[in-house]
Symmetry: C2
Subunit: 368 residues, 2 copies
């Protein structure tokens, strides 16, 4: 039998999602160690925003290393270029796990991949930026044989990306994808326009969602629709549409025009109630038809159309019946033509996001 294979792992970002990731990775490593046929996972690099630790001789770092320890590290900081060099020179295959949502790291993926370093990440930025970056990433991977997995970039740990890939790779024709892709928007509309009862006023619901931690620190980052547009960009590209960027198709922003110039999220939240009547009108228009309003994204593959915004649904429609902050994604395909293949569940949060990343890492490692 061949000697046990070791795969070397660099982790960018060990707070937030990264913290959950490390904790899950520890369990995985212990399980893998039980069968010598499994590869050993050696984490050799960890970074936070401005600090890092790494082992010059590629011996594994402890998975108990805390984010605080990394933050307090005095070790020389590797630039991304140096990190690529370091991982590419490891005495075995290497994977970089990018737990950040940073644009600058995302832009370096083609360099990692060209040097044979696989990429695993929940970071949406790389896959929803310019189409040129998308092509550079997958072109570099096809050439070097390194892998790129990004399950958690849409719906966190829900099996969304893997399902699209399975459909496409086995030759199904995806005709339409539709769903609620934001936990924040889901929570807001399930409370604002429930299928039973009246629901609250719009601004009050946004305030409640913010207080419960369902929104970004500045809720405008959710209400502008860009997060949903990024996810739609990724899915549309996976089914073969050449989407130039997340701003190259219609995206309805729920930030009133008059509040676009607010200098702070606080000012925005203070003035939002002035516009309650606008949203109330939308709710009542739906009610008049026996429907409810939801913030959805959809991709019509044949027409090449992607759009994000408010739409009305019958109360019995699965999108209307969603609860809490759940996501729902429906795939209409040639094979799933009578009724769609539906995936539903929590689409945000550290643990489920990390789960998608760890699951991807296991799939990549099994192929190296």
């Amino acid at each position: 039998m061949a000697a046990q294979k070791t795969v070397f792992i660099g982790i960018i970002g060990v707070g937030g999602v990264g913290k959950c990731f490390l904790s899950q990775l520890k369990g995985v490593t212990e399980r893998l160690a039980k069968n010598p046929r499994n590869p050993a996972l050696a984490v050799v690099f960890m970074s936070r925003s401005t600090t890092n630790i790494y082992s010059a001789d590629y011996s594994p770092l402890s998975l108990d290393t805390s984010a605080e320890t990394v933050a307090a590290s005095k070790q020389d900081v590797l630039s991304t270029a140096k990190l690529i060099e370091y991982l590419a020179a490891a005495p075995g295959k290497a994977v970089v796990v990018d737990n950040t949502s940073a644009q600058d790291v995302a832009e370096q993926y083609p360099e990692f991949l060209a040097k044979g370093v696989s990429v695993v990440t929940p970071n949406k930025k790389a896959f929803s930026g310019s189409y040129a970056l998308w092509e550079a990433i997958f072109g570099a991977a096809a050439k070097s044989g390194a892998k790129v997995y990004h399950e958690s970039s849409v719906g966190a740990g829900l099996p969304v990306i893997s399902t699209v890939k399975d459909l496409v790779e086995t030759g199904d024709e995806v005709t339409k994808i539709e769903g609620v892709f934001s936990g924040t928007m889901s929570f807001l509309f399930n409370s604002f326009a429930p299928t039973e009862g009246e629901g609250g006023k719009w601004a009050a619901e946004v305030k409640k969602a913010k207080e419960l931690g369902y929104t970004e620190p500045d809720p405008r980052d959710d209400l502008n629709g860009l997060d949903v547009a990024r996810k739609l960009t990724i899915l549309a590209r996976l089914v073969g549409l050449k989407i130039e960027s997340p701003t190259s198709f219609p995206v309805q922003s729920l930030i009133p025009k008059e509040l676009e110039s607010c200098s702070s999220g606080d000012e925005f939240m203070q003035r939002l109630p002035e516009f309650d009547s606008q949203m109330e009108e939308v709710k009542l228009a739906a009610q008049a038809q026996g429907k409810v309003v939801r913030f959805v994204g959809s991709i019509d593959v044949a027409k090449g159309e992607v759009k994000v915004g408010l739409e009305m649904f019958d109360k019995s429609h699965p999108i209307a019946a969603l609860k809490g902050s759940d996501n729902i994604i429906s795939f209409y395909t040639k094979r799933y033509s009578a009724s769609p293949l539906i995936i539903q569940g929590s689409g945000a949060g550290g643990e489920v996001t990390a789960m998608g990343v760890v699951g991807d890492l296991l799939k990549v490692v099994a192929q190296l």
Copy 2:
């Protein structure tokens, strides 16, 4: 760059699901051929019930070979033992694809795996037979490094098995699995006890389902609940329960006691209307509580309890709201605690079953 890798494939069963499989595989092979980094897939063996064709020198057979050509083959028939020998001696890694639902083939999986031949199959029998066979299969795979993938054994192409595996492997704790696991049962109860309207009489709905091809040729093979029990057995074992067999937990049969002795399916169908009042009572009891009745399977992991049978659900419950012949599977876990991770869609049919098999084959080939 290393020379292109070839993976050798033997296919047991090229009619029905096997026919769809071959057609999908042809598309996949053409796509893979576009990048020399991808492995080449060489199908070297195909069989039907009593005939086979294979290439003695492991040169690839045409993927346009029809089921009829295989049926008309005069080539010497390889026993399963000979097939294992033949595939194990291929000049590269080998995979057997079992598109049958045969018990005797299933019982040979440990031998294939022990010889390093990976197994890909929609066949439920191996994974829902005795626990000893389950242990022999996964024990042999762990020892040799060969892979076993069986996505289509539950819910056809729906990502059910892969999701359970991802949850378990990344360290989540599955607490409960519940759902409608049979397209036949789904169709029957969605028509017999719809959320809106009255629905038909039981025997008439069974007759309709049979005429539309939603049941097995003998509907008793659906109504006895064993098909659902087999799927539950597989899922329960994947989350760690040692289920001895699909008959070692409570399974409610919808075959009236008085009709158990019917000598044929036709006699059964003729006499079934005599028992309409029994099922009508069940429907009315649910209606009296504002609910509907459904045929479901559930696994309570903490209690180690598996059961299959009739249960009542609120009309707004996702299980009640199911349409057509769709399956729905809900995973309640530590991470998905507020609301379950739900997968829904068509769970039967040649194309979607084959899709699960082809998807599995691609995942296995990527690891060889």
